[in-house]
Structure formats: C-alpha cells, structure tokens
C-alpha cells in the first residue's frame, strides 16, 4: 500500500509539468471603457460541442481538425475611442504570468502599426499553449489557446467565416 502511494505521488509529480498553465485573463474596468469588446471563453466541453456544429468542408473543417484536442480558447479584445484608454501595465502584468516554459516565437514592434507578440508554451518539441498579444494605441487583443495548436495552419485560415464583430451593445457590425 505504501509503495502504491509513493508510486502514485511520483506519477502525479511527473505529470504536473505537462499540465497546461491556467492564465488569468481578467482586465477589471476595461470593458466599461471600451467601445467594442470581444470576449470568447471556450473550455474543452464547449469546444467539443462546437466541433459538432462546424462544417465538413473548407475552413470550417480545417478549424474542426485544429481544435480537436485543445483544452480551451480564450480571447479578450478591447477597442477604444481614444488613444491611451488602456494601461499597458495591465498587459505587462498579464505577461508576467507566463512561466519559464513560455518562449517568444515572434515579436513585432512598430510605432505606426500593431505590436504583436506570439508566445508558445514549449514542452520539449511540443507546443502546449499559445498566447498572442496584439496592441495598438486604441486597441488591444489577447488570444490564449490551450493545447497543441499548429501555428502554420492557423496562419492559413483566410476567411471571415461570416462572423461579424459584436459591438458592446450587442449589435452585429
């Protein structure tokens, strides 16, 4: 019995680095100040449900294959009427949550266009999660994908899929 408990404990300790990191995506007060907000929260259960309703052809089929095995997709995007409406320190606080396994894949800095940072949670050769941080003077967007995602396939998705942006008051644009 004691050997069993020791073995079980060792197994759990060995498995813990493989577990996906939970990232806090709360930005208090921003939704109230934003002109437009996109808030997507999909855990594994909702992703499996969504997969049943995705089409069998084209980009929807591609997406269905890509989300197979993911544990979650989370998006927070805020657009503001004026420059400087959001505190960049909040973004840095978010970034500080990312542990040592997170590696920067691409960082784009521009004074006139988007700044984009793409980071991956690397466990050996395998990507265990992806974070995309995109900032502009009047908008910032964070995407967190939990699980193994193919970035190349992601970049090949071309369409709008007929999905408009939802404005804060619920109207479709």
């Amino acid at each position: 019995m004691r050997k069993f408990i020791v073995a079980l404990t060792l197994m759990l300790l060995a498995a813990s680095p493989l577990a996906a990191q939970q990232i806090n995506l709360d930005f208090p007060g921003l939704a109230d100040r934003a002109e437009e907000v996109v808030d997507v929260t999909l855990d594994a259960t909702m992703l499996r449900l969504a997969a049943k309703f995705l089409g069998k052809e084209g980009d929807e089929r591609e997406i269905r294959d890509m989300i197979n095995g993911l544990s979650g997709i989370y998006v927070r995007s805020y657009s503001f009427a004026k420059d400087g409406e959001y505190d960049r320190a909040q973004i840095e606080r978010f970034r500080s949550q990312l542990g040592s396994t997170w590696k920067a894949l691409v960082t784009v800095r521009s004074k006139t266009k988007d700044n984009v940072s793409i980071m991956a949670d690397m466990r050996g050769e395998r990507i265990n999660g992806l974070v995309i941080i995109a900032t502009e003077p009047r908008e910032f967007t964070i995407v967190n994908i939990v699980g193994n995602i193919d970035i190349e396939r992601l970049s090949r998705l071309e369409g709008e899929f007929g999905i408009p942006k939802i404005s804060k008051d619920g109207r479709n644009d």
């Binding site: 449900l49 998006v75 691409v106 988007d114 999905i163």
Partner: protein, 104 residues
C-alpha cells in the same frame, strides 16, 4: 291481532314478480361486478399516467435538444470568431517578419 300473527304475515315468503331474475342477470351483464369495475378504472388510470409521463419525457427531450442546438451554434460562432482573430494576428506577424527579411 296478536304481534305473533303480524310478524308471521310480514315475514311470509313471497314469489318475485315475473321477469325479476332476467332483469337482475341483464343488469349484471351490462354493469359488471363491482370488483371488475374497479380493475377497469385502475387500468385506465395507469395508462393515463404512463401516457403523461411519456409525453413529459418527450417534451423535455425535445426542449433539451433545442437548447443544445442553440448552445452548439453559439459555440461554433465563438470558435470561428476566435480563430479569425488569431489567424489575422499570426498572419500579420508573419508578413512583417517577411517584409523585414526582404529589406535586409
């Protein structure tokens, strides 16, 4: 008259009217015995209960299916939106990297 004679007269046996037996048998056939009536009523009641339960289960199942369909469509839209946004940002970054690479 004495009490004894009165009692004797009151308790005297009398034959029933003609057709009495036939009327009783006819009524028995028409209405059934009381125990049979109770069994018929119980059977009808249980069938009604079973039918109500079946209908409730069917309606509940239908409502759940409608709800799940609505949730599924909503989840699908959310996935498409998230992937569109993620794809845009990744493409933008790749494009910038290529642009910088080509000017070097």
């Amino acid at each position: 008259m004495s009490l004894e004679e009165d009692l004797r007269r009151a308790l005297r046996r009398e034959s029933p009217a003609p057709g009495f037996a036939a009327r009783v048998l006819e009524r028995i056939e028409r209405d059934g015995e009381p125990a049979t009536q109770v069994r018929q009523h119980s059977g009808r009641t249980w069938r009604a209960v079973a039918a109500s339960l079946t209908l409730t289960a069917l309606l509940g199942g239908w409502a759940f299916t409608v709800h799940q369909r609505r949730e599924g469509e909503r989840a699908r839209e959310q996935v498409l939106l998230a992937m569109r946004i993620a794809g845009e940002k990744v493409r933008y970054a790749q494009q910038e990297v290529r642009t910088i690479g080509s000017t070097d």
